[in-house]
């Protein structure tokens, strides 16, 4: 029986475990044009460089900001969409299918689409601003606000996924519960607060966890939409690792950046888990 797991296990070892070990090893080696692209042990020099690398920490905060804002907005929108799709109305199936389309398209396809939409001065947003007599928004050239444009692109693409998970959760809630509370005179808001939100919590947690991890590794969208710019104000950790390897040909340091990002993500997950544990325990006792 265990033999049946063999091929899958092997594949997972090769693609998940081996790379992580390889990173741990390579992150302690210099491997760049300077060393003739041969790994040379450098005893943690990469890690010291990483700790002092302002660009790495800037990218880390930017990635975190992107992930938190994008996932937060996305979950709110997804909840609204799920509540809408959970009701019964004609044409619901068709609308659900259409709402899925953004999620199914390759990120790179629409990343450039967004670049056109946010284009200054020819994109529709800037033309709208112009028609209203406003100054140009300059969304993709102003380092202070370009990240918001990347958040819009990400929210558009990934909200359907979160909405479907929440919809699945909504459909497990028995309708009698609502009726019982209604009979007691509860308004829709009370129903939402007392029934929907508590019962939806595991699904919210799942969507949150899944989307946060994916948003933390954001790469396609940013590489194509802004290239990390302007002035690396939208650069993410994954993009920085990519640039180190493919543009600066510094594979050793790139591996260090990846390992550092991985450790940050691990710490983040641990922190989030402890936080959710602390938050959910007293409440669960109440429910029982």
């Amino acid at each position: 029986m265990i033999l049946l797991l063999g091929p899958a296990g092997l594949l997972l070892l090769v693609v998940f475990a081996a790379p992580l070990l390889h990173y741990a090893w390579l992150s302690n080696h210099a491997d760049s044009v300077v060393t003739g692209l041969e790994p040379v042990l450098n005893h943690g020099a990469n890690w010291i460089r990483l700790l002092q690398d302002q660009r790495f920490w800037q990218d880390a905060t930017q990635t975190l900001r992107f992930a938190l804002v994008s996932v937060g907005v996305e979950l709110l929108l997804a909840l609204a969409i799920a509540l809408l799709l959970d009701q019964r109305w004609r044409g619901r199936g068709a609308v659900r299918a259409i709402a899925l389309i953004p999620w199914a398209l390759p990120t790179t396809v629409m990343a450039l689409g967004w670049r056109w939409i946010f284009n200054t001065p020819y994109g529709p947003l800037d033309q709208l601003a112009h028609a209203l007599g406003w100054p140009s928004l300059n969304l993709l050239a102003n380092p202070a606000i370009t990240w918001i444009a990347t958040v819009v692109g990400d929210v558009w693409k990934t909200t359907p996924f979160a909405a479907l998970i929440l919809l699945a959760g909504l459909q497990t809630i028995p309708g009698d519960l609502y009726e019982a509370l209604r009979l007691e005179g509860g308004s829709s808001w009370v129903c939402f607060r007392r029934i929907t939100l508590p019962l939806l919590r595991p699904y919210l947690a799942l969507a949150l966890l899944f989307r946060l991890a994916q948003a933390f590794g954001v790469f396609d969208l940013i590489q194509v939409m802004t290239g990390g710019g302007p002035a690396s104000s939208t650069e993410s950790l994954a993009l920085y690792a990519y640039l180190n390897a493919m543009r600066f040909l510094d594979f050793g340091y790139s591996a260090t950046v990846v390992s550092g990002s991985f450790l940050l993500l691990l710490g983040l997950c641990l922190g989030g888990w402890l936080l959710s544990l602390g938050l959910s325990r007293p409440q669960r006792q109440q429910e029982v």
């Binding site: 809408l84 389309i101 398209l105």
Partner: protein, 272 residues
């Protein structure tokens, strides 16, 4: 209430389709019309962008075929490996199956982009670069966690008596899988296959680093190449035409298989 709901539905549709419709509109606009949308231009509508995209070297349909090939081979490879593994997970003792499932969940959550550098070195040392078939190895591997979790949930729903009956009939393990169990979980297999296909069709960082030959590019990389050709003068008209052509297969796929997609994603959430 219905009025309010109608407003929300319209907003949802506008939000989902708006950016795509803008691409559609752009793809038919002549360059002059794009630069000066309000001014009167002699030639407003054009098919020039579509002609440019379809006549370029290599022609656009080539990327679609490449993506189709990679998507199909990855999906087949994933299922061949994931089906037995998922079955095994439902029959193994809990002390193996539980940690295995947790590991799979962790792997499913992992942002795989971080793996690209090590995978690139694998491709280099094994000479797997510029080979579309080889691309399905990392894709199948990255799809395993989700595929196994979805298929395990489906196998678990089958009654055990059924397999016992088949065993009493004298069917071996492979026969039971082939003739009894796998046909019964066909719906779950379909959803898994579509999700894996979508992932492989859309995957970007690995395809970007493994493939450099222009005639072998998959659709997402080919799209990004257009963007990378110059930061300042992206040919938006031609690009919009490419977006439209590249989106049509996926839009059709979603519309045809939406039930499978939804049930795949949601059963993953409910049971996983």
């Amino acid at each position: 209430m219905p009025h309010q709901r109608r407003l929300w539905i319209v907003l949802l549709l506008a939000w989902s389709l708006g950016p795509l419709l803008w691409q559609l509109y752009t793809s038919f606009c002549s360059d002059q019309a794009l630069v000066a949308p309000l001014a009167a231009t002699p030639e407003r509508w054009t098919l020039a962008h579509y002609r440019a995209v379809l006549n370029s070297q290599p022609p656009f349909w080539r990327y679609l075929l490449n993506s189709l090939f990679v998507g199909t081979s990855s999906t087949l490879l994933t299922l061949v490996i994931a089906l037995p593994a998922a079955y095994a997970l439902t029959r193994l003792k809990p002390w193996i199956a539980r940690p295995a499932r947790l590991l799979l969940l962790a792997a499913a959550l992992f942002p795989y982009v971080l793996l690209f550098l090590a995978l690139l070195e694998v491709a280099r040392s094994l000479h797997l670069g510029n080979n579309l078939l080889a691309l399905s190895i990392p894709y199948a591997a990255l799809s395993q966690p989700l595929a196994i979790l979805l298929l395990t949930a489906a196998f678990r729903d089958l009654p055990l008596d059924l397999e016992d009956a088949a065993r009493l009939e004298g069917m071996g393990l492979w026969q039971r899988l082939r003739w009894v169990l796998i046909p019964l979980i066909a719906p779950a297999t379909t959803s898994t296959a579509i999700l894996v296909f979508l992932f492989s069709w859309n995957e970007y960082p690995i395809a970007l680093t493994w493939i450099s030959d222009a005639s072998l590019l998959t659709l997402p990389v080919a799209m990004a190449r257009i963007a990378g050709s110059s930061i300042y003068s992206v040919p938006y008209g031609a690009y919009a035409a490419a977006t439209v052509l590249g989106s049509i297969p996926l839009v059709l796929l979603v519309l045809v298989f939406q039930k499978s997609i939804v049930s795949g994603l949601t059963s993953g959430a409910v049971k996983g």
